[in-house]
């Protein structure tokens, strides 16, 4: 009798764990399916002209997405230049100067919450504070929107990395008579530079895939433009416009751009995590 009970429970346990295995398969299946699909559709569109040429009028085959690649890079560059310094500074405050205040824990919590705020909300915000008053769409406002999305991510990873540095290291520097800022710059930062770098890389990977915040800030441009004070093309918005359109040629280009972005983001993610692993081991 008891044997039967035990066997039944064992069977149930095996089944449950099998179900867990299938759940993992479900997740992995979709990952590989999507990546495979993007590869399948996008590979045929990857050629030199996609990167080197500007678009032709709709309906006409040929041309490329050079304007979108360059625009996207420029906008992301602005986001990086605005978001990373302020992010690192903010995280430094939370982990160093402000570490003893409850206020800092509160800000840290707010930053953590802000990480998950809908990107389109940020886009609407920047539209209201930059685009409307200034009177035009601009690459700058697109960069600002992405910077706002990056900021809390960088603050959190910086704070986390800095808090991992043992206090004794700082004490040793203080004992030598160094002022706090020197302690931070010459002792703390160097010891976490890999971690900080990976944090930045992951944040860049995250924002370079965003389209919603760019929809009403940098808008779009059919031409190659280096003028950040006007509308700018970006890969993600271009994918949106081209995928929603009816032209087969557009669809192909959209897949190509999607492949490039996906590969780039996946690569950055893998690199960052590998760096973290190696940094941790040493």
């Amino acid at each position: 009798m008891i044997e039967r009970e035990i066997r039944k429970r064992k069977v149930i346990s095996r089944l449950a764990l099998l179900a867990a295995f299938f759940c993992a398969l479900w997740g992995l299946f979709w990952l590989f399916f999507i990546i495979f699909d993007v590869l399948r559709h996008g590979l045929s569109s990857i050629n030199l002209s996609l990167f080197l040429e500007v678009p032709t009028p709709p309906g006409e085959p040929g041309g490329g997405l050079k304007h979108a690649f360059i625009g996207h890079l420029l906008i992301t560059l602005v986001a990086v230049i605005l978001g990373i310094p302020f992010g690192i500074l903010g995280g430094t405050f939370l982990a160093e100067y402000g570490r003893n205040f409850r206020f800092s824990r509160f800000i840290s919590f707010l930053a953590d919450t802000m990480v998950s705020v809908p990107a389109i909300v940020v886009g609407a915000f920047v539209y209201a504070i930059m685009v409307k008053p200034l009177g035009h769409f601009s690459g700058w406002s697109g960069g600002v929107a992405l910077a706002i999305i990056m900021l809390p991510v960088i603050i959190r990873t910086t704070e986390h990395m800095l808090s991992l540095v043992p206090w004794t290291m700082r004490e040793a520097a203080f004992a030598l008579g160094a002022p706090y800022h020197k302690v931070i710059w010459q002792v703390v930062y160097p010891s976490v530079k890999t971690g900080l770098l990976t944090g930045c890389l992951l944040a860049i990977a995250r924002v370079s895939g965003e389209a919603a915040p760019l929809l009403f800030t940098s808008f779009n441009n059919n031409f190659l433009s280096y003028d950040m004070s006007g509308p700018m093309a970006s890969l993600t918005v271009t994918i949106f416009v081209y995928a929603m359109g009816p032209y087969e040629d557009w669809h192909g280009k959209a897949w190509g751009a999607a492949l490039v972005i996906t590969l780039a983001i996946l690569l950055i993610n893998l690199t960052a995590r590998l760096m973290l692993k190696k940094g941790g081991k040493s």
Binding site: R9, S13, C23, A24, W26, I34, G90, F93, F109, I261
Partner: protein, 304 residues
């Protein structure tokens, strides 16, 4: 020396201050932009009115708000069981050498940009749903009286069903990684004593780990929910963007984010734009509350 230190301190403080400034800033700006619509439509009547008529200038948020909630909850229903299953797999079943790889693979699901999800959804998932899955589901469920109603309608693939399934795949990693983290926090002693009493692996998971990790898992689910509420691009491709309540799983509808993406640059009347900002404000507050509560729960678990 002291001077440089002070300057640096100032700048770091500024950096940190940006956070509450931005959060408040968004709130204030949205309140200001939405005030026109608020004055005209009030609060309760805006939330409950299904009208969205730019010609006659009558706006109400009932449809997008309901759509947002329904899509989010449906995707949670599809995501959470799998996410928990994955967590169980990684912690209890997976061979040690593969654990990190599987964890990484699941996190990569969240790294794929949502616009790529959207494209894939439009060109691959929706047609599969329209041609095979949805007709099959219709055949199976239509005869059943109440549930059958859920599967009515022309299976076009551009509907609540496809959007929810796709969104569920996107939000699995959030619940999964928090659940994995929570499972690892369970003290060995607790598990060992259960095993010592003759419990099977599943019983340990069910009766020891889950109760212990309830709060953390809830937080993880909350994060997935927060993501689902705010997702725009992926859903915009496959939801159909219609301002009407869905009558079945195969109905197209709309959400706040999709409406914003479609109509923001094109609202040609001030009241229209203001109504959109009103929706954005509501979404913002809702997401903040959901995310803050979830983060709080997770914080409680981590500090235990």
């Amino acid at each position: 020396m002291v001077f440089t230190n002070r300057i640096f301190l100032f700048f770091t403080f500024l950096g940190a201050l940006l956070i509450p400034l931005i959060i408040l800033g968004i709130l204030i700006v949205f309140l200001k932009e939405a005030s026109l619509a608020f004055q005209k439509f009030g609060f309760v009547s805006f939330i409950f009115s299904p009208e969205w008529d730019p010609v006659f200038e009558k706006f109400g948020g009932a449809v997008p708000l309901t759509g947002t909630l329904i899509v989010a909850f449906l995707s949670l229903i599809f995501a959470v069981p799998f996410a928990l299953g994955i967590a169980i797999f990684v912690v209890e079943v997976c061979p040690a050498s593969l654990k990190e790889i599987v964890r990484l693979a699941i996190e990569l699901l969240a790294a794929i940009p949502s616009i790529v999800y959207g494209m894939w959804g439009l060109f691959t998932l929706a047609p599969i749903m329209a041609r095979y899955i949805e007709p099959f589901l219709q055949r199976v469920f239509s005869p059943i009286p109440l549930i059958g109603k859920l599967f009515e309608g022309t299976p076009l693939g551009i509907d609540l069903w496809t959007a929810s399934i796709m969104l569920s795949i996107m939000i699995i990693p959030f619940t999964a990684s928090i659940a994995i983290e929570s499972f690892y926090l369970v003290p060995r002693v607790l598990k060992e004593s259960a095993y010592g009493m003759g419990a099977t692996k599943w019983e340990v998971i069910k009766d020891v780990m889950f109760p212990y990790c309830k709060i953390g898992i809830l937080g993880g689910i909350g994060l997935s929910l927060g993501r689902a509420l705010g997702e725009t691009m992926a859903v915009a491709f496959v939801l159909g963007n219609i301002n009407s309540f869905p009558t079945s799983l195969f109905s197209p509808t709309t959400t706040v984010t999709v409406k914003l993406a479609n109509e923001f640059t094109e609202a040609d009347k001030d009241i229209h734009l203001s109504a959109l900002f009103y929706l954005a404000l509501l979404l913002y507050i809702l997401s903040l509350i959901v995310i803050a509560c979830s983060k709080y729960l997770i914080l409680r678990v981590r500090s235990r």
